[in-house]
Protein backbone atom coordinates (compact mmCIF):
# COMPACT_ATOMS: atom_id res chain seq x y z
CA UNK A 1 0.00 0.00 0.00
CA UNK A 2 1.13 3.56 -0.52
CA UNK A 3 2.78 5.14 2.44
CA UNK A 4 0.77 8.30 1.92
CA UNK A 5 -2.65 6.70 1.89
CA UNK A 6 -3.25 7.98 5.40
CA UNK A 7 -3.37 11.47 3.90
CA UNK A 8 -6.06 10.68 1.40
CA UNK A 9 -8.83 12.09 3.58
CA UNK A 10 -6.89 15.28 4.02
CA UNK A 11 -6.27 15.65 0.37
CA UNK A 12 -9.93 16.13 -0.46
CA UNK A 13 -9.90 19.12 1.84
CA UNK A 14 -7.77 22.14 1.26
CA UNK A 15 -4.81 20.95 3.20
CA UNK A 16 -3.35 19.22 0.21
CA UNK A 17 -0.72 21.85 -0.51
CA UNK A 18 0.72 21.71 3.00
CA UNK A 19 0.97 17.99 2.95
CA UNK A 20 2.21 17.44 -0.53
CA UNK A 21 5.85 17.95 0.43
CA UNK A 22 5.48 15.62 3.38
CA UNK A 23 3.80 13.19 1.02
CA UNK A 24 6.60 13.09 -1.44
CA UNK A 25 9.26 12.77 1.24
CA UNK A 26 7.36 9.88 2.80
CA UNK A 27 6.88 8.30 -0.57
CA UNK A 28 10.58 8.42 -1.27
CA UNK A 29 11.43 6.97 2.07
CA UNK A 30 8.83 4.29 2.50
CA UNK A 31 7.80 3.04 -0.90
CA UNK A 32 9.83 0.01 -1.93
CA UNK A 33 12.37 0.84 -4.61
CA UNK A 34 11.54 -0.26 -8.12
CA UNK A 35 12.07 -3.98 -8.49
CA UNK A 36 11.36 -4.77 -4.87
CA UNK A 37 7.78 -5.77 -5.45
CA UNK A 38 8.23 -9.27 -6.68
CA UNK A 39 6.21 -11.95 -8.37
CA UNK A 40 6.52 -15.15 -6.39
CA UNK A 41 6.32 -18.75 -7.56
CA UNK A 42 5.61 -21.39 -4.91
CA UNK A 43 6.07 -25.07 -5.80
CA UNK A 44 3.85 -27.27 -3.62
CA UNK A 45 4.02 -31.05 -3.33
CA UNK A 46 1.24 -33.46 -2.49
CA UNK A 47 2.51 -35.99 0.05
CA UNK A 48 1.28 -38.51 2.60
CA UNK A 49 0.02 -36.54 5.60
CA UNK A 50 2.64 -36.13 8.31
CA UNK A 51 0.45 -37.91 10.86
CA UNK A 52 0.31 -41.12 8.86
CA UNK A 53 2.78 -43.87 9.68
CA UNK A 54 3.35 -45.52 6.32
CA UNK A 55 3.70 -49.27 5.85
CA UNK A 56 6.11 -50.99 3.55
CA UNK A 57 4.38 -53.18 0.94
CA UNK A 58 4.73 -56.92 1.41
CA UNK A 59 6.53 -57.32 -1.94
CA UNK A 60 9.09 -54.63 -0.95
CA UNK A 61 8.29 -52.58 -4.03
CA UNK A 62 7.51 -49.41 -2.11
CA UNK A 63 5.31 -48.03 0.66
CA UNK A 64 1.58 -48.50 0.63
CA UNK A 65 -0.05 -45.15 -0.01
CA UNK A 66 -3.39 -46.40 -1.31
CA UNK A 67 -6.18 -45.01 0.87
CA UNK A 68 -3.97 -42.95 3.14
CA UNK A 69 -4.59 -39.30 3.84
CA UNK A 70 -2.68 -36.97 1.50
CA UNK A 71 -1.88 -33.34 2.28
CA UNK A 72 0.30 -30.49 1.20
CA UNK A 73 3.90 -31.02 2.32
CA UNK A 74 4.19 -28.99 5.58
CA UNK A 75 7.25 -27.09 4.35
CA UNK A 76 5.32 -26.07 1.22
CA UNK A 77 2.50 -24.69 3.38
CA UNK A 78 5.11 -22.56 5.11
CA UNK A 79 6.34 -21.42 1.68
CA UNK A 80 2.83 -20.39 0.59
CA UNK A 81 2.26 -18.61 3.90
CA UNK A 82 5.53 -16.67 3.50
CA UNK A 83 4.58 -15.59 -0.01
CA UNK A 84 1.18 -14.42 1.25
CA UNK A 85 2.84 -12.46 4.05
CA UNK A 86 5.17 -10.81 1.53
CA UNK A 87 2.13 -9.82 -0.48
CA UNK A 88 0.37 -8.49 2.59
CA UNK A 89 3.45 -6.39 3.39
CA UNK A 90 3.45 -5.00 -0.13
CA UNK A 91 6.61 -6.85 -1.16
CA UNK A 92 4.89 -9.26 -3.54
CA UNK A 93 2.49 -8.72 -6.40
CA UNK A 94 1.26 -12.06 -7.61
CA UNK A 95 1.66 -15.53 -6.12
CA UNK A 96 1.58 -18.51 -8.46
CA UNK A 97 1.45 -22.00 -6.94
CA UNK A 98 2.80 -24.90 -9.02
CA UNK A 99 2.52 -28.61 -8.42
CA UNK A 100 3.89 -31.49 -10.44
CA UNK A 101 2.22 -34.88 -10.27
CA UNK A 102 -1.09 -36.69 -10.56
CA UNK A 103 -4.50 -35.11 -11.24
CA UNK A 104 -5.25 -34.96 -7.50
CA UNK A 105 -2.50 -32.38 -7.05
CA UNK A 106 -5.25 -29.96 -8.04
CA UNK A 107 -6.46 -30.29 -4.45
CA UNK A 108 -3.03 -29.24 -3.23
CA UNK A 109 -3.14 -26.23 -5.53
CA UNK A 110 -6.66 -25.29 -4.35
CA UNK A 111 -5.34 -25.53 -0.83
CA UNK A 112 -2.48 -23.14 -1.70
CA UNK A 113 -4.99 -20.77 -3.29
CA UNK A 114 -7.15 -20.93 -0.16
CA UNK A 115 -4.15 -19.78 1.88
CA UNK A 116 -3.73 -16.91 -0.57
CA UNK A 117 -1.99 -17.91 -3.82
CA UNK A 118 -3.57 -16.07 -6.76
CA UNK A 119 -3.56 -18.89 -9.27
CA UNK A 120 -2.24 -22.38 -9.83
CA UNK A 121 -0.43 -24.43 -12.43
CA UNK A 122 -0.55 -28.22 -12.48
CA UNK A 123 2.17 -30.05 -14.37
CA UNK A 124 0.15 -33.20 -14.79
CA UNK A 125 1.81 -36.60 -15.02
CA UNK A 126 1.50 -40.08 -13.57
CA UNK A 127 5.24 -40.63 -14.02
CA UNK A 128 7.53 -40.99 -11.04
CA UNK A 129 9.20 -37.62 -10.54
CA UNK A 130 12.63 -37.30 -8.96
CA UNK A 131 14.01 -33.95 -7.73
CA UNK A 132 16.14 -33.26 -10.83
CA UNK A 133 13.10 -33.78 -13.06
CA UNK A 134 10.95 -31.56 -10.83
CA UNK A 135 13.63 -28.87 -10.92
CA UNK A 136 13.69 -29.01 -14.73
CA UNK A 137 9.90 -28.77 -14.91
CA UNK A 138 9.95 -25.83 -12.52
CA UNK A 139 12.67 -24.13 -14.57
CA UNK A 140 10.43 -24.32 -17.62
CA UNK A 141 7.63 -22.67 -15.63
CA UNK A 142 10.03 -20.00 -14.33
CA UNK A 143 11.12 -19.26 -17.89
CA UNK A 144 7.46 -18.64 -18.80
CA UNK A 145 6.28 -16.86 -15.69
CA UNK A 146 9.42 -14.82 -14.95
CA UNK A 147 9.03 -14.59 -11.16
CA UNK A 148 11.71 -12.78 -9.17
CA UNK A 149 11.43 -15.18 -6.26
CA UNK A 150 10.70 -18.89 -5.92
CA UNK A 151 9.95 -20.14 -2.42
CA UNK A 152 10.06 -23.93 -1.95
CA UNK A 153 9.94 -26.20 1.05
CA UNK A 154 13.35 -27.33 2.27
CA UNK A 155 12.30 -30.95 2.09
CA UNK A 156 9.40 -33.13 1.03
CA UNK A 157 8.49 -35.38 3.95
CA UNK A 158 7.94 -38.43 1.72
CA UNK A 159 11.24 -38.75 -0.16
CA UNK A 160 13.12 -36.59 2.39
CA UNK A 161 15.39 -35.48 -0.48
CA UNK A 162 16.02 -31.83 0.34
CA UNK A 163 17.23 -31.11 -3.19
CA UNK A 164 14.71 -29.46 -5.50
CA UNK A 165 15.23 -25.81 -4.53
CA UNK A 166 19.01 -26.00 -4.75
CA UNK A 167 18.76 -27.81 -8.11
CA UNK A 168 16.38 -25.20 -9.49
CA UNK A 169 18.77 -22.46 -8.34
CA UNK A 170 21.61 -24.21 -10.18
CA UNK A 171 19.63 -24.62 -13.40
CA UNK A 172 18.65 -20.94 -13.36
CA UNK A 173 22.07 -19.76 -12.16
CA UNK A 174 20.32 -17.92 -9.33
CA UNK A 175 21.38 -17.45 -5.74
CA UNK A 176 19.89 -19.70 -3.08
CA UNK A 177 19.10 -19.33 0.60
CA UNK A 178 18.19 -22.64 2.18
CA UNK A 179 16.49 -23.47 5.53
CA UNK A 180 15.14 -19.95 5.91
CA UNK A 181 13.81 -18.77 9.24
CA UNK A 182 13.41 -15.08 8.28
CA UNK A 183 12.98 -13.31 4.93
CA UNK A 184 13.13 -9.62 4.02
CA UNK A 185 13.03 -8.16 0.53
CA UNK A 186 14.95 -4.92 0.04
CA UNK A 187 17.14 -3.14 -2.46
CA UNK A 188 16.86 -5.76 -5.21
CA UNK A 189 17.92 -8.52 -2.85
CA UNK A 190 16.47 -10.90 -0.30
CA UNK A 191 18.00 -10.85 3.15
CA UNK A 192 17.49 -14.31 4.52
CA UNK A 193 18.33 -15.79 7.90
CA UNK A 194 19.14 -19.48 7.53
CA UNK A 195 19.28 -22.28 10.09
CA UNK A 196 22.79 -23.76 10.05
CA UNK A 197 24.84 -26.00 12.33
CA UNK A 198 25.55 -24.05 15.48
CA UNK A 199 22.91 -21.39 15.01
CA UNK A 200 21.80 -18.87 12.41
CA UNK A 201 23.47 -17.26 9.42
CA UNK A 202 22.14 -14.31 7.44
CA UNK A 203 22.91 -13.96 3.75
CA UNK A 204 21.87 -11.48 1.11
CA UNK A 205 20.91 -13.00 -2.24
CA UNK A 206 20.44 -10.99 -5.42
CA UNK A 207 17.02 -11.20 -6.98
CA UNK A 208 15.85 -13.22 -8.79
CA UNK A 209 16.54 -15.94 -6.24
CA UNK A 210 15.49 -19.18 -4.59
CA UNK A 211 14.50 -19.57 -0.95
CA UNK A 212 13.71 -22.83 0.85
CA UNK A 213 11.71 -22.76 4.07
CA UNK A 214 12.46 -24.20 7.47
CA UNK A 215 9.88 -24.93 10.16
CA UNK A 216 10.34 -21.76 12.14
CA UNK A 217 9.87 -19.30 9.26
CA UNK A 218 6.20 -18.87 10.11
CA UNK A 219 3.09 -20.68 11.24
CA UNK A 220 0.74 -21.16 8.29
CA UNK A 221 -2.78 -19.82 8.75
CA UNK A 222 -5.83 -22.05 8.50
CA UNK A 223 -7.73 -21.62 5.29
CA UNK A 224 -11.13 -20.13 6.14
CA UNK A 225 -14.30 -21.41 4.54
CA UNK A 226 -14.85 -18.21 2.48
CA UNK A 227 -11.27 -18.45 1.24
CA UNK A 228 -11.72 -22.12 0.37
CA UNK A 229 -14.80 -21.14 -1.67
CA UNK A 230 -12.92 -18.28 -3.36
CA UNK A 231 -10.04 -20.61 -4.18
CA UNK A 232 -12.38 -22.82 -6.20
CA UNK A 233 -12.91 -19.96 -8.64
CA UNK A 234 -9.27 -19.05 -9.08
CA UNK A 235 -7.46 -19.86 -12.32
CA UNK A 236 -5.85 -23.29 -12.53
CA UNK A 237 -3.92 -24.14 -15.68
CA UNK A 238 -2.82 -27.64 -16.61
CA UNK A 239 0.27 -28.48 -18.65
CA UNK A 240 2.12 -31.72 -19.40
CA UNK A 241 5.85 -32.33 -19.05
CA UNK A 242 6.02 -32.84 -22.84
CA UNK A 243 4.48 -29.36 -23.39
CA UNK A 244 7.42 -28.01 -21.43
CA UNK A 245 9.93 -30.09 -23.37
CA UNK A 246 11.23 -31.78 -20.25
CA UNK A 247 12.43 -35.38 -20.07
CA UNK A 248 11.45 -36.69 -16.64
CA UNK A 249 13.02 -40.14 -16.89
CA UNK A 250 14.22 -41.18 -13.41
CA UNK A 251 17.96 -41.48 -12.87
CA UNK A 252 17.62 -43.64 -9.78
CA UNK A 253 15.93 -47.02 -9.80
CA UNK A 254 14.42 -48.17 -6.53
CA UNK A 255 15.45 -51.81 -6.21
CA UNK A 256 13.57 -52.44 -2.99
CA UNK A 257 11.98 -50.78 0.00
CA UNK A 258 12.21 -52.43 3.40
CA UNK A 259 11.10 -51.94 6.98
CA UNK A 260 13.87 -50.51 9.10
CA UNK A 261 15.17 -52.88 11.78
CA UNK A 262 12.78 -52.88 14.73
CA UNK A 263 14.04 -52.03 18.19
CA UNK A 264 13.26 -54.82 20.56
CA UNK A 265 10.89 -53.82 23.31
CA UNK A 266 12.50 -52.48 26.44
CA UNK A 267 11.51 -52.56 30.06
CA UNK A 268 10.06 -50.08 32.50
CA UNK A 269 12.16 -49.54 35.58
CA UNK A 270 10.65 -48.86 39.00
CA UNK A 271 12.74 -45.91 40.09
CA UNK A 272 15.89 -43.88 39.58
CA UNK A 273 18.06 -46.36 41.50
CA UNK A 274 16.92 -49.22 39.25
CA UNK A 275 17.62 -47.10 36.17
CA UNK A 276 21.17 -46.36 37.30
CA UNK A 277 21.72 -50.05 38.04
CA UNK A 278 20.57 -51.04 34.53
CA UNK A 279 22.72 -48.41 32.84
CA UNK A 280 25.80 -49.39 34.82
CA UNK A 281 25.52 -53.15 34.99
CA UNK A 282 23.34 -54.27 32.07
CA UNK A 283 23.84 -51.72 29.30
CA UNK A 284 27.27 -50.65 30.59
CA UNK A 285 26.96 -47.20 29.01
CA UNK A 286 27.85 -45.12 32.07
Amino acid sequence: MHANSQYRGLRSRKLRAEFSIVDSVLALRKLPAFGDIVKVLVPVKRVVDYNVKVRVKADNSGVDIANVKMSMNPFCEIAVEEAVRLKEKGSATEIVAVSAGVTQCQETLRNAMAIGADRGILIETDAELQPLAVAKLLKAIVDKEQPQLVILGKQAIDDDSNQTGQMLAALLNWGQATFASKVEIEGGAAKVTCEVDGGLETVSIKLPAIITTDLRLNEPRYATLPNIMKAKKKQLDIVKPADLGVDVTPRLATLKVEEPPKRKGGVKVADVAALIDKLKNEAKVI
Binding site: Q163, L200, E258, V272, A273, A283
Partner: protein
Protein backbone atom coordinates in the same frame (compact mmCIF):
# COMPACT_ATOMS: atom_id res chain seq x y z
CA UNK B 1 37.22 -44.91 -9.75
CA UNK B 2 37.95 -41.80 -7.73
CA UNK B 3 35.93 -40.13 -5.01
CA UNK B 4 35.85 -36.44 -4.26
CA UNK B 5 34.88 -35.66 -0.66
CA UNK B 6 33.63 -32.12 -0.07
CA UNK B 7 35.02 -31.27 3.34
CA UNK B 8 33.05 -29.31 5.88
CA UNK B 9 35.49 -27.25 7.92
CA UNK B 10 35.92 -23.95 9.67
CA UNK B 11 39.11 -23.13 7.72
CA UNK B 12 41.22 -24.13 10.72
CA UNK B 13 40.00 -27.68 11.28
CA UNK B 14 37.72 -30.34 9.85
CA UNK B 15 34.16 -30.71 11.12
CA UNK B 16 33.60 -34.17 12.56
CA UNK B 17 31.07 -35.09 9.85
CA UNK B 18 33.81 -34.95 7.20
CA UNK B 19 35.48 -37.99 8.79
CA UNK B 20 32.32 -40.05 8.37
CA UNK B 21 32.04 -39.05 4.72
CA UNK B 22 35.65 -40.15 4.16
CA UNK B 23 34.72 -43.58 5.59
CA UNK B 24 31.82 -43.87 3.16
CA UNK B 25 34.14 -42.93 0.28
CA UNK B 26 36.65 -45.57 1.38
CA UNK B 27 33.83 -48.15 1.39
CA UNK B 28 32.90 -47.23 -2.18
CA UNK B 29 36.50 -47.93 -3.16
CA UNK B 30 39.13 -46.19 -5.26
CA UNK B 31 41.11 -43.04 -4.54
CA UNK B 32 39.72 -40.60 -2.00
CA UNK B 33 40.46 -36.93 -2.65
CA UNK B 34 39.30 -34.26 -0.22
CA UNK B 35 38.44 -30.74 -1.36
CA UNK B 36 38.91 -27.89 1.07
CA UNK B 37 37.24 -24.81 -0.36
CA UNK B 38 38.04 -22.09 2.15
CA UNK B 39 39.93 -18.95 2.96
CA UNK B 40 43.25 -19.12 4.78
CA UNK B 41 42.38 -22.77 5.21
CA UNK B 42 45.83 -24.37 5.06
CA UNK B 43 45.38 -25.75 8.56
CA UNK B 44 42.18 -27.56 7.56
CA UNK B 45 43.94 -28.97 4.48
CA UNK B 46 46.85 -30.18 6.61
CA UNK B 47 44.41 -31.85 8.98
CA UNK B 48 42.70 -33.59 6.04
CA UNK B 49 46.08 -34.81 4.73
CA UNK B 50 46.58 -36.78 7.93
CA UNK B 51 43.23 -38.57 7.84
CA UNK B 52 43.57 -42.28 7.19
CA UNK B 53 42.31 -43.34 3.77
CA UNK B 54 42.78 -39.98 2.03
CA UNK B 55 45.00 -40.11 -1.05
CA UNK B 56 45.11 -36.41 -1.96
CA UNK B 57 43.93 -33.08 -0.57
CA UNK B 58 42.91 -30.25 -2.89
CA UNK B 59 43.02 -26.79 -1.37
CA UNK B 60 41.08 -24.05 -3.14
CA UNK B 61 41.92 -21.04 -1.04
CA UNK B 62 40.35 -17.68 -1.76
CA UNK B 63 38.08 -14.91 -0.51
CA UNK B 64 35.16 -16.36 -2.51
CA UNK B 65 35.15 -19.27 -0.05
CA UNK B 66 35.54 -17.24 3.15
CA UNK B 67 31.89 -17.74 4.10
CA UNK B 68 31.37 -21.09 2.45
CA UNK B 69 28.61 -19.75 0.22
CA UNK B 70 27.01 -22.68 -1.64
CA UNK B 71 26.90 -20.93 -5.01
CA UNK B 72 30.66 -20.40 -4.95
CA UNK B 73 31.45 -23.82 -3.51
CA UNK B 74 29.36 -25.52 -6.21
CA UNK B 75 31.12 -23.58 -8.98
CA UNK B 76 34.48 -24.65 -7.53
CA UNK B 77 33.46 -28.29 -7.31
CA UNK B 78 32.09 -28.37 -10.85
CA UNK B 79 35.34 -26.87 -12.13
CA UNK B 80 37.26 -29.91 -10.85
CA UNK B 81 34.56 -32.56 -11.14
CA UNK B 82 35.72 -34.33 -14.27
CA UNK B 83 37.48 -37.57 -13.52
CA UNK B 84 35.48 -38.33 -10.39
CA UNK B 85 32.96 -41.14 -10.26
CA UNK B 86 31.58 -40.08 -6.87
CA UNK B 87 31.23 -36.69 -5.23
CA UNK B 88 30.31 -36.92 -1.55
CA UNK B 89 29.33 -34.36 1.07
CA UNK B 90 28.02 -34.67 4.62
CA UNK B 91 24.23 -34.57 5.09
CA UNK B 92 24.52 -31.38 7.14
CA UNK B 93 22.99 -27.99 6.32
CA UNK B 94 26.21 -27.14 4.43
CA UNK B 95 26.37 -30.39 2.45
CA UNK B 96 22.65 -30.27 1.72
CA UNK B 97 22.97 -26.74 0.35
CA UNK B 98 25.92 -27.59 -1.92
CA UNK B 99 25.46 -31.16 -3.18
CA UNK B 100 22.13 -30.75 -5.05
CA UNK B 101 23.46 -27.59 -6.70
CA UNK B 102 26.52 -29.50 -7.91
CA UNK B 103 24.39 -32.40 -9.13
CA UNK B 104 22.07 -30.18 -11.16
CA UNK B 105 24.99 -28.28 -12.70
CA UNK B 106 26.35 -31.67 -13.82
CA UNK B 107 22.86 -32.84 -14.92
CA UNK B 108 23.03 -35.73 -12.45
CA UNK B 109 20.68 -37.00 -9.78
CA UNK B 110 21.66 -36.53 -6.16
CA UNK B 111 21.35 -39.33 -3.65
CA UNK B 112 20.48 -37.95 -0.22
CA UNK B 113 21.47 -39.11 3.21
CA UNK B 114 22.84 -42.57 2.41
CA UNK B 115 23.17 -44.98 5.34
CA UNK B 116 24.79 -47.88 3.47
CA UNK B 117 26.99 -48.52 0.46
CA UNK B 118 25.81 -51.71 -1.29
CA UNK B 119 28.15 -51.29 -4.25
CA UNK B 120 29.57 -48.38 -6.21
CA UNK B 121 26.17 -47.69 -7.86
CA UNK B 122 23.79 -48.84 -5.15
CA UNK B 123 22.98 -47.24 -1.83
CA UNK B 124 20.45 -47.46 0.99
CA UNK B 125 18.67 -44.33 2.20
CA UNK B 126 15.84 -43.72 4.62
CA UNK B 127 12.56 -42.26 3.35
CA UNK B 128 9.32 -41.27 5.12
CA UNK B 129 11.07 -40.11 8.29
CA UNK B 130 13.01 -43.35 8.46
CA UNK B 131 9.88 -45.51 8.38
CA UNK B 132 11.25 -47.24 5.29
CA UNK B 133 14.69 -47.88 3.83
CA UNK B 134 15.00 -47.65 0.05
CA UNK B 135 17.78 -49.35 -1.90
CA UNK B 136 18.46 -47.19 -4.95
CA UNK B 137 20.69 -47.78 -7.95
CA UNK B 138 22.05 -44.89 -9.94
CA UNK B 139 22.40 -44.93 -13.72
CA UNK B 140 24.40 -41.68 -13.78
CA UNK B 141 28.10 -41.61 -14.66
CA UNK B 142 28.79 -39.45 -11.61
CA UNK B 143 27.09 -40.11 -8.29
CA UNK B 144 26.54 -37.03 -6.16
CA UNK B 145 25.85 -38.17 -2.64
CA UNK B 146 25.20 -36.83 0.84
CA UNK B 147 26.18 -39.13 3.69
CA UNK B 148 24.40 -39.57 7.02
CA UNK B 149 27.28 -39.28 9.48
CA UNK B 150 25.86 -41.57 12.15
CA UNK B 151 25.70 -44.49 9.72
CA UNK B 152 29.44 -44.58 9.02
CA UNK B 153 32.31 -44.72 11.49
CA UNK B 154 34.68 -41.77 11.65
CA UNK B 155 37.93 -42.20 9.71
CA UNK B 156 41.01 -42.01 11.94
CA UNK B 157 42.31 -38.45 12.18
CA UNK B 158 45.89 -39.58 11.86
CA UNK B 159 47.77 -42.24 9.99
CA UNK B 160 47.47 -40.72 6.53
CA UNK B 161 50.24 -38.89 4.74
CA UNK B 162 48.72 -37.46 1.60
CA UNK B 163 49.93 -34.48 -0.38
CA UNK B 164 48.15 -31.12 -0.43
CA UNK B 165 47.70 -29.68 -3.90
CA UNK B 166 46.80 -26.02 -4.21
CA UNK B 167 44.17 -25.08 -6.79
CA UNK B 168 43.19 -21.72 -8.15
CA UNK B 169 40.12 -20.63 -6.20
CA UNK B 170 37.35 -20.05 -8.71
CA UNK B 171 33.67 -19.60 -8.20
CA UNK B 172 33.07 -16.04 -7.11
CA UNK B 173 29.56 -16.05 -8.55
CA UNK B 174 28.54 -12.81 -6.80
CA UNK B 175 25.03 -14.27 -6.48
CA UNK B 176 24.99 -13.98 -2.71
CA UNK B 177 26.91 -12.41 0.11
CA UNK B 178 27.41 -13.09 3.78
CA UNK B 179 25.72 -10.65 6.17
CA UNK B 180 26.12 -12.00 9.69
CA UNK B 181 26.09 -15.11 11.85
CA UNK B 182 24.88 -15.92 15.32
CA UNK B 183 26.71 -19.07 16.23
CA UNK B 184 26.34 -20.45 19.72
CA UNK B 185 29.67 -21.64 21.06
CA UNK B 186 29.36 -24.59 23.37
CA UNK B 187 31.86 -26.40 25.55
CA UNK B 188 29.86 -29.57 25.13
CA UNK B 189 30.57 -32.32 22.61
CA UNK B 190 28.97 -31.82 19.21
CA UNK B 191 25.45 -33.24 19.17
CA UNK B 192 25.92 -35.53 16.18
CA UNK B 193 29.27 -36.88 17.40
CA UNK B 194 28.55 -37.19 21.15
CA UNK B 195 28.63 -40.53 22.97
CA UNK B 196 25.80 -39.45 25.26
CA UNK B 197 22.92 -37.10 24.48
CA UNK B 198 20.49 -35.65 27.01
CA UNK B 199 17.44 -34.37 25.19
CA UNK B 200 14.49 -32.36 26.48
CA UNK B 201 10.99 -31.77 25.19
CA UNK B 202 7.97 -29.63 25.89
CA UNK B 203 7.62 -31.39 29.24
CA UNK B 204 10.36 -29.10 30.58
CA UNK B 205 7.97 -26.17 30.33
CA UNK B 206 10.48 -23.33 29.75
CA UNK B 207 14.01 -22.52 28.70
CA UNK B 208 14.95 -21.78 32.31
CA UNK B 209 13.66 -25.15 33.46
CA UNK B 210 15.34 -26.87 30.53
CA UNK B 211 18.70 -25.49 31.67
CA UNK B 212 18.06 -25.85 35.39
CA UNK B 213 16.94 -29.47 35.20
CA UNK B 214 19.01 -30.90 32.34
CA UNK B 215 22.38 -29.16 32.69
CA UNK B 216 23.47 -30.94 35.91
CA UNK B 217 22.65 -34.31 34.35
CA UNK B 218 24.41 -33.48 31.08
CA UNK B 219 27.44 -32.24 33.04
CA UNK B 220 27.62 -35.44 35.06
CA UNK B 221 27.43 -37.55 31.91
CA UNK B 222 29.66 -35.34 29.75
CA UNK B 223 26.75 -35.28 27.33
CA UNK B 224 25.66 -33.12 24.43
CA UNK B 225 22.22 -31.55 24.78
CA UNK B 226 19.39 -31.93 22.31
CA UNK B 227 15.70 -31.11 22.08
CA UNK B 228 12.43 -31.88 20.38
CA UNK B 229 10.99 -29.53 17.82
CA UNK B 230 8.35 -28.41 20.30
CA UNK B 231 11.07 -27.31 22.73
CA UNK B 232 12.89 -25.41 19.98
CA UNK B 233 9.73 -23.81 18.62
CA UNK B 234 8.82 -22.66 22.12
CA UNK B 235 12.22 -20.97 22.33
CA UNK B 236 13.71 -23.08 25.14
CA UNK B 237 16.88 -23.69 23.10
CA UNK B 238 18.40 -22.65 19.75
CA UNK B 239 17.35 -24.32 16.50
CA UNK B 240 20.44 -26.47 16.14
CA UNK B 241 19.46 -28.48 19.21
CA UNK B 242 16.59 -30.09 17.28
CA UNK B 243 16.80 -33.83 16.87
CA UNK B 244 14.59 -35.46 14.25
CA UNK B 245 13.50 -35.94 10.68
CA UNK B 246 14.07 -32.30 9.91
CA UNK B 247 16.72 -31.59 12.52
CA UNK B 248 19.83 -33.51 13.44
CA UNK B 249 20.26 -37.26 13.24
CA UNK B 250 22.03 -38.69 16.26
CA UNK B 251 23.05 -42.21 17.21
CA UNK B 252 24.96 -42.00 20.50
CA UNK B 253 25.69 -44.88 22.87
CA UNK B 254 23.11 -43.42 25.23
CA UNK B 255 20.16 -41.13 24.45
CA UNK B 256 18.13 -39.84 27.37
CA UNK B 257 14.76 -38.42 26.28
CA UNK B 258 13.18 -36.30 28.99
CA UNK B 259 9.68 -34.91 28.67
CA UNK B 260 9.62 -35.91 25.00
CA UNK B 261 6.48 -37.70 23.74
CA UNK B 262 8.19 -39.54 20.87
CA UNK B 263 6.47 -38.31 17.70
CA UNK B 264 7.61 -40.18 14.56
CA UNK B 265 9.49 -37.10 13.41
CA UNK B 266 11.50 -37.12 16.64
CA UNK B 267 12.10 -40.89 16.58
CA UNK B 268 13.49 -40.51 13.04
CA UNK B 269 16.41 -38.60 14.52
CA UNK B 270 17.37 -40.84 17.44
CA UNK B 271 16.06 -44.36 17.11
CA UNK B 272 19.43 -45.72 15.99
CA UNK B 273 20.94 -44.81 19.36
CA UNK B 274 22.47 -47.86 21.07
CA UNK B 275 20.62 -47.43 24.35
CA UNK B 276 17.57 -45.23 24.80
CA UNK B 277 16.24 -44.05 28.15
CA UNK B 278 12.90 -42.27 28.41
CA UNK B 279 11.63 -40.33 31.38
CA UNK B 280 8.02 -39.29 30.98
CA UNK B 281 5.03 -39.05 33.30
CA UNK B 282 2.66 -40.51 30.71
CA UNK B 283 3.00 -44.32 30.70
CA UNK B 284 1.47 -44.44 27.20
CA UNK B 285 3.87 -41.97 25.59
CA UNK B 286 5.11 -43.44 22.28
CA UNK B 287 8.72 -42.78 23.30
CA UNK B 288 8.47 -45.86 25.55
CA UNK B 289 8.00 -48.07 22.48
CA UNK B 290 11.61 -47.41 21.46
CA UNK B 291 13.13 -47.02 24.94
CA UNK B 292 15.32 -49.77 26.38
CA UNK B 293 14.68 -48.38 29.84
CA UNK B 294 11.57 -46.39 30.57
CA UNK B 295 10.93 -44.53 33.79
CA UNK B 296 7.39 -43.31 34.34
CA UNK B 297 7.92 -40.34 36.64
CA UNK B 298 7.67 -36.61 37.03
CA UNK B 299 10.84 -35.36 35.39
CA UNK B 300 11.19 -32.50 37.86
CA UNK B 301 11.74 -35.09 40.60
CA UNK B 302 13.42 -37.92 38.71
CA UNK B 303 16.04 -35.96 36.78
CA UNK B 304 17.58 -34.08 39.75
CA UNK B 305 17.62 -37.36 41.66
CA UNK B 306 19.34 -39.10 38.75
CA UNK B 307 21.95 -36.34 38.46
CA UNK B 308 22.58 -36.44 42.21
CA UNK B 309 23.01 -40.22 42.36
CA UNK B 310 25.37 -40.59 39.42
Amino acid sequence: MANLVIAEHDHGSLKAATLNVISAAVEIGGDVHVLIAGHNAKAAADAAAQVAGVSKVLLADGAAHAHRLPENAAAQIVAIASGYSHILAPATPYGKAVAPRVAALLDKAQISDIIKVVDADTFVRPIYAGNAYATVKSSDSVKVITVRGTAFGAAAKTGGFSSVETLAAVGDTALSSFVSAEIVKSERPELTAAKIVVSGGRGLGSGDKYREVLTPLADKLGAAMGASRAAVDAGYVPNDYQVGQTGKIVAPDLYVAIGVSGAIQHLAGMKDSKVIVAINKDPDAPIFSVADYGLVADLFEAVPELAAKL
